[in-house]
């Protein structure tokens, strides 16, 4: 039983002062259903610069439901909406007393509790918010594609590493008939275990860094001869994909083998001691590109591997990050649909240890990389380039670099240079989307 459901997401503190359009709309919608109240509220504290809105989270395990003494609150099994049965509600206020998120209004004068019912699935507040601050997060659209989790408990990647989440996500979408390929690298720990037990529930094979694409080629062709449609998927680091194993990768692309090749790019050789790789960015610290005195990290820009892969004119190339799962999902589905050639997905995967940030910030780092256009999300599909996630107002690169110790030594000059590289690369992709 999956317990993922849609929920409203409200951007933090971005309401225009005085605005209450969402509440007005909700009140109107509720009135048309014969109810009195609003499931969303705006809050303004001008002195503190607070202008925000709040609503129910439609929790997967709602504490309001557990505390209701008349069984009036239910969570719908199909749409996940937490509803109050008005006819049964006693007006005791206990739900208001226990909900930690302010999801329930309690009105003593009417002796009733009131909460958001998500307009039964298509909330109207989303459409009226003048700053587009409210959105419906469609968890189901992702979860609906999930198969059983093939990663077993106790994987030995570093705590909080997004590579594990990413691999799990990829494999849950891939589902049955998937053959996973790896090479020496962090993810080896997940795939092979550390000499104790295997931590994956599907067939897998570990090659040398230089032989992944050729091994995949052989396995894929073998299955095809047997008449079986088996997805051959590689999940390797940038060391393998972009440095040591780059020639065979390019070869497989040129031969247009029907394999799905994914690189989780943590911009260096992380589990061998954080050495630089060809995707280490300009200015980035590694143990072999130190920051001491006049040395300011890596002197050259990173190799733009996804663009090089697109230049092979294989059917599908994309960049993706786990922080934008809808986008990622679409790309996986497209890659899986390709039956006449190769797909390549390049994934930015921050390394807690090697990049220098605190464990829970992985998503924040990933989002900043995208929102600054450091790592634009795009795809190349049979000759056409497309930006799949347009950043409305790209943030300056410092919003990204400030999060990471590997950039801590950069001064204005290097920051400007890095910004320049980011702009140049983004414009190139942008022009490609316009040209093709």
């Amino acid at each position: 039983m999956e317990t993922f459901f849609d929920t409203l997401k409200i951007e933090e503190n971005i309401c225009p002062p005085g605005c209450g359009v969402c509440r007005e709309k909700c009140t109107q919608v509720q009135r048309s259903k014969g109810k009195n109240g609003s499931g969303i509220h705006e809050f303004h504290i001008p002195d503190l610069g607070v202008h925000m809105a709040n609503t129910c989270n439609q929790c997967s395990e709602p504490v309001c439901l557990d505390a209701c003494p008349s069984g009036s609150i239910s969570k719908d099994e199909k749409d996940g909406i937490v509803r109050i049965d008005e006819k049964r509600c006693l007006g005791c206020g206990l739900c208001n007393l226990v909900c930690p998120y302010g999801g329930i209004d309690y009105r003593a004068d009417e002796k009733k509790a009131f909460k958001c019912d998500l307009c039964d699935g298509s909330p109207e507040c989303v459409n009226v918010c003048p700053v587009k601050g409210i959105s419906l997060m469609k968890a189901r659209s992702i979860v609906g594609y999930f198969h059983e989790d093939p990663l077993l408990k106790g994987s030995s990647l570093c705590v909080g590493c997004p590579a594990e989440t990413t691999l799990r996500f990829v494999l849950r979408v891939m589902g049955k008939d998937t053959f996973l390929f790896g090479a020496p690298g962090c993810a080896t720990n997940v795939i092979n275990g550390q000499g104790i037990k295997c931590m994956i529930n599907i067939p897998s094979h570990m090659s040398n860094m230089t032989t992944v694409p050729s091994t995949m080629t052989g396995v894929k062709r073998y299955y095809r001869r047997l008449g079986k449609d088996v997805k051959c998927v590689a999940f390797v680091g940038d060391g393998c994909a972009t440095d040591v194993g780059f020639q065979p990768l390019s070869g497989a692309a040129e031969r247009n083998e029907n394999i799905i090749f994914m690189c989780y790019d943590n911009e260096g050789y992380m589990n061998t001691g954080i050495q630089r790789s060809s995707t280490t960015p300009y200015g980035g610290w590694t143990t072999t590109t130190p920051a001491m005195g006049r040395r300011k990290g890596k002197k050259m820009a990173s190799k733009n591997v996804p663009l090089i892969m697109a230049a092979h004119e294989i059917p599908y190339v994309a960049t993706a990050v786990i922080g934008y799962p809808e986008d990622f999902l679409n790309k996986l589905l497209k890659a899986m649909a390709v039956k006449d050639g190769m797909s390549y997905i390049h994934i930015l995967s921050p390394c807690i240890l090697g990049w220098g940030y605190s464990i829970p910030a992985s998503l924040e780092v990933i989002k900043a990389a995208v929102e600054t256009n450091y790592f634009p999300l795009w795809e190349y599909e049979r000759g056409k380039y497309r930006i799949t996630y347009e950043v409305k107002n790209p943030k300056p690169i410092t919003e990204y670099t400030k999060l990471l110790k590997k950039f801590a030594h950069l001064e204005k000059e290097e920051i400007d240079e890095l910004q320049e590289i980011v702009n140049r690369r983004f414009n190139r992709i942008k022009r490609l989307t316009e040209a093709f």
Partner: protein
């Protein structure tokens, strides 16, 4: 893995929450829920609303028959558990039938305290704990008649309100100097009393019932300060105590009158857990065990017990006192410590010409307790701020002036921080 058998005694909020938690985490194990009553599970909290006629009994059942089928739970009604033999992992039902278990939850709730007042048992007084009690009281309700209620706690005052709404003359006798003494300070309680008395409910505080006399269908309660009150019916609501008789002789440790549990809801007997009103569990503020018989605690303790019963190690953070009381269109809310100590910083706000009253208790940077009368808030958010020890330093005044807005803002900020910097 071997299928385990969990038996849950009691069909109140604590047992149901444990049941749901067990099923969430384990689809295979056998679950049996035992209730000594013959109805579907309900909560005693709903009884006043049944008495006032707002809802019918069947509108307050917490779950339907279908619920048990869907979750593959056996629901045994009308069955009282008499004894527990922990060494043999067995329980004994009425009529001597025995049954084995792998893990056992005691969630038998509490029962009314009946004080030792001379003459009390010579007539038919009422207490309110089960559906039958509510029905018995409804039988006796008669417009124009008068009712005496012993005890001005939340249950007593709620019943007082119900009866007054039924146009009965109501007198409440309380030995302590104010009404709702456990949850509200003198000032707040005076405000509530003002409204109650305005509706004709007489509150005789600071007076003990010394003797009860029954004559000709009437009841007379003699008071400690001299004088007496007379009525047509008598409701005793001076408090509750854990219903622990089933552990008598079992060796399971009792403390504070309840079943002692550790922070996993485990009793002193292996594989026997307790939750809800019956348990003497860890208090959030002091870390010491104690009783706090309120519904939100029963729910939380049930969830924690359920997790641990299926081997998912879960720690109980401790209970926080909290309550909400609605009376004649007004609301009084208390979350956290109702009374301040010398170490605390207290801020009070009243609004002239209204019954609004706000009191916030801080200890250094932390919120310790709030009282709100006629103030629209999302009360649970204050519980969040207290429980998560959210630093509120610079927001103290804002919390007083704009309690709802500020608390939501602090909660949202804290939630965001929680996702970003768990580590530090």
């Amino acid at each position: 893995m071997k299928r385990k058998k969990h038996i849950l005694i009691g069909a109140g909020t604590a047992a149901l929450c444990a049941l749901k938690q067990i099923r969430r985490l384990n689809r295979e194990d056998e679950i049996k829920l035992v209730s000594m009553e013959d109805s579907l599970p309900y909560s005693p909290t709903a009884l006043p609303y049944i008495i006032s006629g707002k809802v019918g009994v069947s509108d307050t059942f917490l779950v339907s028959e279908g619920f048990f089928k869907k979750l593959k739970v056996e629901f045994l009604k009308n069955r009282k558990v008499e004894r527990i033999y922990g060494e043999n992992k067995e329980i004994v039902y009425d009529k001597g039938i025995r049954e084995g278990y792998d893990s056992l939850l005691i969630a038998t709730g509490s029962e009314p305290v009946v004080p030792d007042i001379p003459g009390l048992y010579e007539g038919e007084f009422l207490t309110i704990r089960g559906i039958k009690d509510a029905q018995a009281l409804i039988e006796k309700v008669k417009e124009g008649n008068s009712a005496i209620i012993l005890g001005a706690g939340l249950i007593g005052m709620h019943i007082a309100q119900c009866l007054s709404e039924k146009n009965m003359k109501v007198k409440v006798v309380e030995s302590l100097p104010s009404i709702l003494p456990a949850y509200f300070d003198k000032e707040a309680s005076e405000i509530i009393r003002g409204i109650m008395e305005g509706k004709g409910i007489e509150c005789l505080t600071g007076k003990k019932a010394t003797r009860i006399e029954w004559k000709g269908g009437k009841v007379e309660v003699n008071l400690s300060e001299g004088g007496s009150v007379e009525g047509d019916l008598l409701v005793v609501a001076v408090g509750v105590k854990p219903r622990t008789e089933i552990v008598d002789g079992s060796g399971i440790k009792i403390e504070n009158g309840g079943i002692a549990v550790d922070d996993r809801m485990r009793t002193s007997m292996d594989d026997v857990y307790a939750a809800g009103d019956v348990a003497s569990a860890k208090a959030f503020f002091t870390g010491e065990n104690g009783l706090n018989p309120i519904l939100p605690n029963a729910a939380e303790q049930g969830r924690v017990a359920g997790s641990n019963m299926v081997g998912v190690d879960t720690v109980y953070e401790g209970w926080i006192p909290m309550n909400t009381f609605s009376y004649f269109g007004h609301t009084a809310i208390s979350v956290g410590m109702p009374f301040s100590s010398e170490k605390d910083e207290v801020h009070v706000r009243k609004i002239n010409g209204t019954d609004t009253y706000r009191k916030l208790i801080f200890r250094e940077d932390r919120l310790m307790g709030v009282t709100f009368i006629d103030t629209e808030v999302n009360a649970g958010v204050f519980n969040y701020l207290i429980r998560k020890k959210v630093p509120v330093g610079e927001y103290k005044m804002s919390l007083l002036e704009f309690p709802r807005e500020t608390s939501l803002y602090l909660m949202q900020q804290a939630e965001k921080k929680e996702t970003i910097s768990l580590e530090e």
